[in-house]
C-alpha cells in the first residue's frame, strides 16, 4: 500500500498483479514488455519458482501456455493492447482445446493517448478479444486490479477458459512525452 495525497492507503496495483499470479500458482510468466508490466516482469524474473519468458511476439505466449498446461503447469501472458491484435488467429488454439489462458493487458489508445497510432488497436482490443471468445474485465482503479485478476484466474484455471484483465490508461497514468 502507498499513501495518496489525502493520506488514504492506495493499493500498489503493480505489485498486486504479481502477487495474485503467484498466489494462483502460476509457474510461467510469458510476456512482451510494456512499461505498465515492468514491476510484474521484474518480480517474475527474480522468482526462482517462476519461469519468465520474453517473447518476440505475443501469440508465441498462447502456444507456450498451451504446452505448459499439457505438462500440468499454470501460466499467464502479459502484454500491451497492441499485442492483442497479434494474437487473434492463434486464439483458435484455446477455443478448440480449452486450456486455461490468463492474460493481463495494459491499454494504449484508450484514454489520454498522445500517439494516435495506438488508437485503432486500443479501441478495438476488448471487442476483438470478445469476438474470439475471451472473457474480459477492465480495471481503471487501483483497488480493482487484485480482485478482478483473482476472479479471472479462478475462471481460467478452474474452468479452462480464456480470460483477460485489461488495465486501463487511467489506471496506468498518462505517458510523459516531454523531451
Amino acid at each position: 500500500m502507498a499513501a495518496d495525497g489525502m493520506g488514504t492507503a492506495v493499493p500498489d496495483w503493480r505489485r498486486d498483479v504479481f502477487d495474485v499470479l503467484k498466489a494462483a500458482r502460476v509457474r510461467h510468466v510469458v510476456y512482451v514488455p510494456d512499461a505498465g508490466h515492468a514491476t510484474a516482469i521484474r518480480l517474475a524474473e527474480a522468482d526462482e519458482e517462476i519461469e519468465a519468458v520474453v517473447l518476440t511476439t505475443e501469440e508465441e505466449g498462447i502456444g507456450y501456455l498451451a504446452g505448459a498446461w499439457l505438462g500440468g503447469e499454470r501460466g499467464a501472458l502479459l502484454m500491451q493492447s497492441s499485442g492483442v491484435g497479434n494474437c487473434i488467429n492463434t486464439l483458435a488454439l484455446q477455443a478448440c482445446t480449452r486450456f486455461p489462458l490468463l492474460m493481463v493487458v495494459t491499454m494504449r489508445g484508450d484514454w489520454a493517448e498522445f500517439n494516435q497510432w495506438q488508437n485503432p488497436m486500443g479501441q478495438a482490443t476488448e471487442a476483438a478479444l470478445r469476438l474470439m471468445g475471451v472473457r474480459t474485465w477492465r480495471a481503471d482503479e487501483p483497488k480493482d486490479v487484485a480482485p478482478l485478476l483473482r476472479g479471472a484466474a479462478t475462471m481460467a484455471f478452474e474452468g479452462d477458459e480464456a480470460c483477460a484483465v485489461l488495465l486501463g490508461q487511467r489506471l496506468i497514468g498518462e505517458k510523459e512525452w516531454s523531451k
Binding site: R27, H28, E51, V53, V54, L55, T56, T57, E59, E60, G61, I62, G63, Y64, L65, A66, G67, A68, W69, L70, G71, G72, E73, G75, N89, T90, A92, L93, C96, T97, R98, F99, E158, G159, D160
Partner: protein, 195 residues
C-alpha cells in the same frame, strides 16, 4: 528453385518414432500431423490443426513443464517460417529435453505445393545456427535419421534438425480433430485429471 530433398517423409517420421518410450510429440498443422498419425496414434501425441507457427512454442512450454521427458516437435518448413521469432525465444531458454524437427520440402504442401521461402533459398538450419541453437543438424541422407532419433531421446541439449524431404503429398492419415479430447488424453497419460 524449389529445394527440399530426396528423403521419404513417412519413412523418416516412422523411424524417429521407433521405440519411442516416454517421448512426447507435438506436431505442426498439415502434413507433419499426418506423418506422425501414420506412424500410429499415441496418447503422447498432440496434433495442431491451426494456430500456424505455434508448434515449436507448444513444445517449449511442454519441455519446460516436463523436464524429465524428451519432447519432439515435428513440423514443416512453412509452419516454422510463420513462427521464425519463436526460434529466438526458444534459443534463449535452451531446454535440454527439446528437439525441433523441421521436415523441409521447400513448399507449402497443404495448399497446392507453392514454393516456400525455404524452397527459394532461405536455409532454416543456418537461421537456427545464427540464432544460437547449440546443436543443429541438416539431414539429407537416410543414415542421418537414426543419430537424430538417439539425440531426441538423450535430453542432452536443445537441438534442431532440418530434414530434407521430397515435395510430395502422401495419402492423408487424419489425426483426431477434437482438440479437447486430444488435450485431455495427453494430460491423463501424464497423470493430470480434466477440470
Amino acid at each position: 528453385m524449389s529445394r527440399g530433398g530426396d528423403l521419404d517423409r513417412r519413412a523418416v517420421v516412422a523411424e524417429l518414432l521407433r521405440e519411442r518410450g516416454d517421448l512426447l510429440v507435438v506436431t505442426g498443422l498439415g502434413s507433419p500431423s499426418y506423418d506422425v498419425m501414420a506412424a500410429g496414434d499415441h496418447d503422447g501425441n498432440y496434433y495442431l490443426w491451426a494456430a500456424m507457427g505455434s508448434a515449436a512454442m507448444v513444445g517449449l512450454g511442454l519441455a519446460k513443464a516436463r523436464p524429465e521427458r524428451p519432447v519432439m516437435v515435428v513440423t514443416g518448413d512453412g509452419e516454422q517460417l510463420m513462427g521464425l521469432g519463436a526460434l529466438a525465444t526458444i534459443a534463449l531458454r535452451r531446454p535440454p529435453n527439446l528437439s525441433i524437427v523441421i521436415l523441409d520440402n521447400g513448399h507449402f504442401g497443404e495448399t497446392g505445393m507453392q514454393p516456400s521461402h525455404a524452397g527459394q533459398g532461405v536455409e532454416l538450419h543456418r537461421v537456427a545456427e545464427a540464432i544460437g541453437f547449440p546443436a543443429v543438424d541438416l539431414v539429407t541422407e537416410r543414415q542421418g535419421v537414426e543419430p537424430l532419433r538417439r539425440r531426441v531421446h538423450a535430453r542432452a541439449g536443445l537441438n534442431l534438425a532440418v530434414v530434407k524431404i521430397r515435395p510430395e503429398n502422401p495419402p492423408r492419415v487424419l489425426p483426431p480433430r477434437d482438440g479437447v479430447h486430444v488435450k485431455n488424453r495427453f494430460r491423463l497419460a501424464l497423470g493430470h485429471r480434466p477440470a
